[in-house]
Symmetry: C2
Subunit: 245 residues, 2 copies
Amino acid sequence: MANIYEMTHDVLYYEADETGKLSLPYILNLAILSSTMQSVAYGIGPDETHTRGLGWIVLQHVMDIKRRPNIDETVILQTYAREVNPYFATRIYKIFDTDRNELVSIESLYAMLDMEKRKMARIPAEYVALYGADVVKKIPRLPEPTKISADESALSLDYRVRYTDIDSNKHVNNSKYFDWLQDVLGETFLQTHEPVQVNIKFEQEVRMGDVISSTATIGDAQTVHRIMNGDIVAAEASATWTVAD
Amino acid sequence: MANIYEMTHDVLYYEADETGKLSLPYILNLAILSSTMQSVAYGIGPDETHTRGLGWIVLQHVMDIKRRPNIDETVILQTYAREVNPYFATRIYKIFDTDRNELVSIESLYAMLDMEKRKMARIPAEYVALYGADVVKKIPRLPEPTKISADESALSLDYRVRYTDIDSNKHVNNSKYFDWLQDVLGETFLQTHEPVQVNIKFEQEVRMGDVISSTATIGDAQTVHRIMNGDIVAAEASATWTVAD
């Protein structure tokens, strides 16, 4: 059985967007916060993995949102590693309100990187034991994001990766992709639509100074996204939305 | 005597930059968090001011940094309103470590805005009473940031204001100016220098979709900054630095 980790968090004003609700980038930040805290609690946090020359990388997040919590609301952040095989792991994140209503659920696919060789590494057996993850032969695949089709008329904006986009892992904080995905949709769309699901698949790392282009098409209750770094696909994503109150 | 408000905060991983220390934008976010919490505790938080059609605006911050706290470090956020006259107020922010060593000190100048008329409003007397601020005739001016001189060869980059730059006050979160100020200096400078003082003066509001240009010159232990929104000066700033360890 997976070891479930929980912590409480009060939503801070700067974690909300203009709706006064927890923003998409901060939903992801809080999720990663909970798994980092779990790892630290088990003695296998970032310091330990870095000492071994290892680092977790995220391959995909599938995020379902029932209700985004408000500024000052206390939420429970829950996470556990569900399944692992030698090279991949699935992790579940949930955000609950204080009545244990589920607000957000995220299914994430991770792999382990040998930081020096920049290639996949085996997940240490003691990590698997500590997280209590189910050892499986094959990790079930997550659904693919909807692909952007070349002939649709698309919105597109360029973003240069900034110093403040880099976190203490010396990589672009994954939450920044949500900035780029959302911003290109424009204020009118964002003010009138509430996100219900976001599926993002990371293909290639981006670095400080890179100029990425965020492209999106707006369809019927769905947006489809691609983040390009020059000729290279950095990420693909799709999202579903409801009309906001 | 001013009513002093304090709260503790654990520095979260996403509040740090690549140095693993609390980033400049988040130093400001935590400061504003503490004064917002003070205002809410006194029943005169954002909801109350907005109901009255009022809003606080920041005119200037002068930030002195002795040591930036690390990820996971517990800090004490302290704030109080020091002086008010009918139209202006000075507020002090401090960040202490758990041994009460002062890490950061910020002196800030505020004014009150009539949100509908977009002009200065009188600070309500009951606010002054609740904050316990000294009522003075004249608010002492803060030192001016060093001016950028036109003939110096300057670094300059453009930034478009993004959806995720807007906070629940429906304005650009002031911490974003620090993104623009820092990023233009480049990774090499930022990796080798630690900020000691930042003096930023806000001249004109910027809005979503605006493209601002952040210009900076790097001098001897000092950087001088200007943020332009087209022909209009949005902010001026200067900062001093030491060579990082």
